[in-house]
Point group: C2
Chain length 361, copies 2
């Protein structure tokens, strides 16, 4: 009993200190708090909330930094009643070569909607990778055939492993085929995956072989389609994640025309998602697009109707995903005592007249 009382007092003390401070969560702290199952649940909930108007998401703001070959985005959102955040994240493809830094560097501020208090400041780089994988998992769970067991990965960059880990949560995978011209990256991933999941049939393959699997994830930054219509069989589900800017596209337009297309968000998909080029060229019309994943999850639109349909999830990445996963990370950090409480905001009111010391008289 003494032990329990002590534990309770300690946790209460910690909770109170956390509530009067801001929890700093380093990249390592966030890594310790991220759980793919939780991320998938949080992202699913966020999509539903957004469709049901229980989430608010202003458009992403971009600041282009052409002199550095990169850009930075601010992504504010609110999900449900208690999750509110802004993510501030750069994409600087020249970082690795020029500065020995990652391409993507991001931070996120999670706030209490009731007061605006910053509950946490956290690294958002790994969180972004998780929420992107989680979105593909939610889409695959919703749109892929029930009996889908094989996964094709086109593009063996960092996101590939997140896709595989995430989708393993929603379908019982038996084979993964990875296609990328960069043989080293492909081989590294094949080896790591083989080691981690010895029961899986893991192989490096051609684009056509990867595109022939039940679920296909496209993860490349190309401007000219690399996935041909002929390669896509009946009943395949495609997660199209590579296109994230006007002009980018990975799938031949005939695939889009023959498929049920589901977007994460109309605005973003039309401007920067897989469908942006075809829509701008009027090769694809709005009526070709079924609607949002949230609408299907919320029951407002039908999903896959039979085992023959090709389905496509056009994922651009939404701020609501970040907010929902950040809230899950914060909850786990508080629960497990991770992170460093810091004084960022001063609860005491600043003396209203302190600034008068700065008068020029």
């Amino acid at each position: 009993m003494v032990g329990e009382d002590y534990l309770w007092a300690t946790q209460l003390g910690r909770l109170m200190s956390v509530e009067r401070s801001t929890l700093l969560l380093s990249a390592d702290d966030v890594a310790a708090c991220l759980d793919m199952g939780e991320a998938i649940a949080a992202v699913r909930e966020a999509f539903v909330a957004y469709h049901a108007k229980r989430a608010v998401m202003p458009p992403k703001s971009y600041i282009n930094l052409p002199e550095h070959g990169g850009d930075v985005r601010s992504m504010p959102a609110k999900v449900g009643t208690d999750a509110l955040s802004v993510k501030w994240i750069c994409s600087h493809p020249k970082n690795p070569e020029r500065h020995g830094l990652p391409t993507v560097i991001g931070s996120l501020i999670l706030s209490d909607p009731a007061t605006g208090w910053p509950l946490a400041v956290m690294d958002a780089t790994l969180l972004t990778a998780y929420r992107t994988g989680a979105a593909a998992a939610v889409a695959s769970d919703t749109l892929a055939r029930r009996d889908a067991t094989t996964l094709g990965i086109i593009g063996a960059g960092t996101q590939a492993a997140y896709q595989i880990a995430a989708i393993s949560h929603v379908r019982k995978l038996t084979r993964v085929t990875i296609a990328d011209a960069r043989i080293e990256s492909t081989q590294r991933l094949v080896e790591a995956l083989t080691k981690r999941a010895p029961h899986l049939d893991v192989r490096a393959g051609t684009l056509e072989e990867a595109a022939g699997e039940d679920i296909v994830c496209t993860l490349t930054p190309v401007h000219t389609p690399i996935v041909k219509r002929d390669w896509i069989g009946h009943g395949v589900h495609i997660n199209a994640l590579g296109a994230d800017a006007a002009g980018k596209q990975e799938l031949e337009v005939d695939i889009l025309r023959d498929a049920v297309i589901v977007v994460d968000d109309w605005e973003q998909a039309t401007h920067s998602g897989e469908i942006n080029v075809a829509m701008a060229a009027a090769d694809l019309r709005p009526e070709h697009v079924r609607g949002t994943l949230g609408a299907i999850l919320d029951g407002a639109l039908p999903g896959r109707s039979d085992d023959e349909e090709i389905t496509i999830f056009d994922s651009t990445g939404l701020a609501i995903q970040d907010t929902a996963v950040a809230k899950a990370v914060y909850a786990r950090a508080v629960r497990d005592g991770l992170g460093t409480p810091v004084d960022l905001v001063n609860t005491a009111r600043v003396p209203f007249d302190a600034v008068l010391t700065q008068m020029r008289t």
Copy 2:
């Protein structure tokens, strides 16, 4: 010489540790780094840079939180080549009463445009008060008569002291008249100011008396004009700061029509500044507005042409002001060794396959 070498080595060590980390600047740290003279210089430079297209500022994003009677805004901007930030700031008027917290709580992330690295995370509450005062000072310096010596303050809330302190940097003040129906707030400010600047003639006055001074600052959240045309004499300069949302206005429309109007930003002023109601009602036309303060500072538009004109600066508060002042705060913190370097981002690449431990197999 030994001393200098040691100092140099210490500073270099600090600089390097700062460059590989993120500087956490608490409200107290920021308070110690804010200097009104520097803030004014930074804001002036930001306005010029924005006009000269050396600054980038996407529109503010709002998330309304009606269930808490407040809102939160994300304000990203880049100024010049080396200042890049996002401010995330709430306005919760019920905070003091409900939670014992300030109405405005904000945080800011300052990043290196070259890499996206978060250089600093800082409290932005006091910074916001400074940059708002600084904008009025820049406008007063640009638009008020050279021989202006008296200042009228309408609204004795927190911002009043910042206006007085800031404007004292650009004109030699001899008298300050403060008008507010809240007698206690007014008296507190009169007393504090009298103590701080004994040479000043400081008095509580009526709205009409305050509006009769050479420079007038309006700082109230009213929706019906409280400043009458008859009260405004020839040659007066008005800083209109209270209106920050559609529907708010402090000045009778005849004042607007008879004055040279200068805005901080066309978009924001039209939507939420002092001119928003008159513009929406077509009581005021775009040609009534001379242009932006930045255009005048940059020499592209004329300012005051004679000592008879009434001039108005419609200030809505711009993200570029925050970015510029945050950069000045950061520079001073690095110079003076303030703040706490923390590990937020991990410079080491996350092992690409670590997430595979989260596979469901």
